[in-house]
Symmetry: C3
Subunit: 292 residues, 3 copies
């Protein structure tokens, strides 16, 4: 079994993941030795401290070792294809392979070539299922059931695998999702909310990271302009439902897509709880895929 | 005890390594906890994803932790000599030190300065003993005894530590070795086979990776020319014995030294089995050196 | 509890660290499983092979896993503040966080933001407490009590966190410390010894590494001049007490701040014993902070 996308998970698997992850969120040490003697290959072809360390921490807490592929040293530089790298890594017999790759569909391609479970830790602009799962866990801890809740996801919708995976997952859990962002970064089929309309009355606002490259190249706004036009300021958050919570997958650009006062809002910014839940959810995912 | 070269291994040690590695190839989990609590320093001064990860996986399967020295961060950049680095790493008390280094004789130099076993994971153009051992294991799985078998090793013989270690090891196991390659890349004392002559009637053909730098600088052939002149095409493989098998230490340059149809030939391309055997053989090596 | 500076350690904690580290120096395997199931985040924002590997080895010997943050991949490059990185890493629930950072006070800043123990593994030009602790352990093994002993610390005093932490610690253990170096690299309040005066009659001489950048830029001496003017030559060592010992935190610039004959002086150069003691002391530190 692999975790390649949200749609590859059945409802009972979702239930199992949320239940187990919640156990681990409450008692991180309770998974000790569950995957003793196992090895996870942690293959990050794009930089991501937080996700790579989160998987390594999840593996360690289950008693497994994460072996990190250093991309700088990798055979990619020697002209090896992704398929050959995948077959090679698979032949070494890891118990699971975690893959972050800039190419859409990379995880599917790898999964078809190896004998072990593959976790998609982000592929191109498509899917980042463990991020959506940890976001949903965080929202469920806050709201209990998500039925009838409205979640606004704001930012570079077009390029965000976080948005895509959440837009798949959250409606399955009963939530309504509204997508909005700078006009150039929202695809036509995402609906036609303005950012303010998307946030109005929402129970949670999930801000996406804006890529600095995109800031410079596509949007070309003056410093501070992005925050005023498209970012989450206290004024804009005030449009949401009373007590609405704030999420961000990190790393944040403070003063760009999110104002300091919002990022640090006590009791309402769930950003660090997302990080803690990320370890718990990845423990649940690794356990499900490896130990069943 | 160290593993610095093929010639440093006695016949009974060879027997022991092949027997143990075969056990681990059949049951990779059977080594669990054999090296529990041990640490292996994995010191790669040249990039090699596959060898570094293979040793890390081997260590993990024995219950040991591999601690990877990141060369980019290393004291080499601060002007420290290899000898001082070796003494320093040795003083930290690893249970074994695995070294890949571009300098001929680096492993010998390090072994003379530390108290722990040293494994030569490739030094300059000289030796790569665990690669030859895993190649031999793969051939023995295929043929049983290697007595009377002919192995053609094709490519950049002059610069290949893989070729050198195999040319030491395989004859000790009863095989005949024929070395051939582009004329500029075969030393005078390697015999004077053409590539086609070397392959004719061979039971196995081991293709070597051609360094892209060398392709550009020394051989200067047009794209596709290398494969036609020096690579393993289906036509050239047809010169070998019926059912002859194909090996490659990886990573492959597909369409350069090896054609796709050959690299992926079912039942005859043993390239992925080499990778799997690499982990098993390195388990056997680490166990022999550390636990005796 | 954190280890941020020497002054943050009480006398009884010092005693405990020295006793425990001495146990581990004598029997490195005696800590096995003491921190089983724990994870240490090893966060090095400056390159340091030896310190990072020393902490990783210490963690492994206690049964813990060190998870290394790769700074090249880190969110720093994505514009994340140190505070946000700290909070994020802390939210992942490591059992301790080891930090090397070029910014003075970085460890204090991080410690205020996370729930786990923080070990300062060097911050800017300020403190490197585990280095001073291992230096003191090494001197105590040599001399027993340090009361009445004189330690000369020679080199770039102005920029050396090693000097600063030792200048805090060694006097607390009863030693006199004399600081000296190239005039441009010694702050006015460090006393006005010449190097020869500082070494005269000293029981131990601790040479500091001179940064190559500084050699080029500030001192501008001809090759070999540094050693003659400011380095530890056999002639200069002869000014010290008979049998005086030599320390260096490494990596050494041989022929710059220290002559080969001195670096390798049998029985009197304690440089490799410092390295071994580094692992033992870091085991003691991790154990104290995590297990109490």
């Amino acid at each position: 079994m692999h975790l390649l996308s949200i749609s590859s998970l059945g409802d009972s698997q979702l239930d199992q993941l949320f239940a187990r992850a919640q156990d681990y969120a409450l008692d991180p040490r309770s998974g000790r030795d569950r995957l003793a003697g196992r090895t996870i290959f942690n293959c990050f072809y794009e930089n991501s401290t937080r996700t790579a360390m989160s998987f390594a921490q999840a593996a360690a807490r289950l008693g497994a070792q994460a072996i990190t592929l250093s991309v700088e040293h990798s055979s990619v530089k020697k002209g090896e294809t992704l398929a050959d790298t995948a077959r090679t890594l698979g032949a070494m017999g890891p118990d699971a392979l975690v893959l972050r790759h800039r190419q859409n569909g990379a995880a599917e391609e790898v999964a078809a070539l190896v004998d072990c479970p593959v976790v998609n830790a982000g592929d191109g602009t498509r899917e980042h299922p463990t991020q959506a799962l940890l976001d949903a866990l965080t929202l469920r801890q806050q709201f209990g059931s998500l039925t009838g809740r409205t979640i606004a996801i704001i930012g570079d919708i077009a390029h965000s695998r976080v948005a895509h995976s959440n837009a798949e997952l959250l409606p399955r859990l009963g939530a309504s999702v509204r997508l909005a962002g700078p006009p150039a970064l929202v695809p036509a089929d995402a609906g036609s909310h303005s950012i303010d309309e998307a946030i109005a009355g929402a129970d949670a606002v999930m801000m996406l990271r804006v890529q600095r490259e995109r800031l410079d190249e596509d949007l070309g706004d003056a410093p501070g302009e992005y925050l005023r036009l498209y970012g989450l300021t206290p004024e804009r958050l005030a449009l949401a439902a009373p007590g609405a919570v704030v999420l961000h997958p990190g790393p944040m650009n403070r003063g760009v897509e999110i104002a300091d006062e919002v990022a640090d809002l006590p009791g309402r910014s769930l950003i660090l709880r997302q990080v803690a839940n990320g370890v718990a959810m990845r423990m649940a995912v690794l356990e499900l895929l490896i130990a069943g």
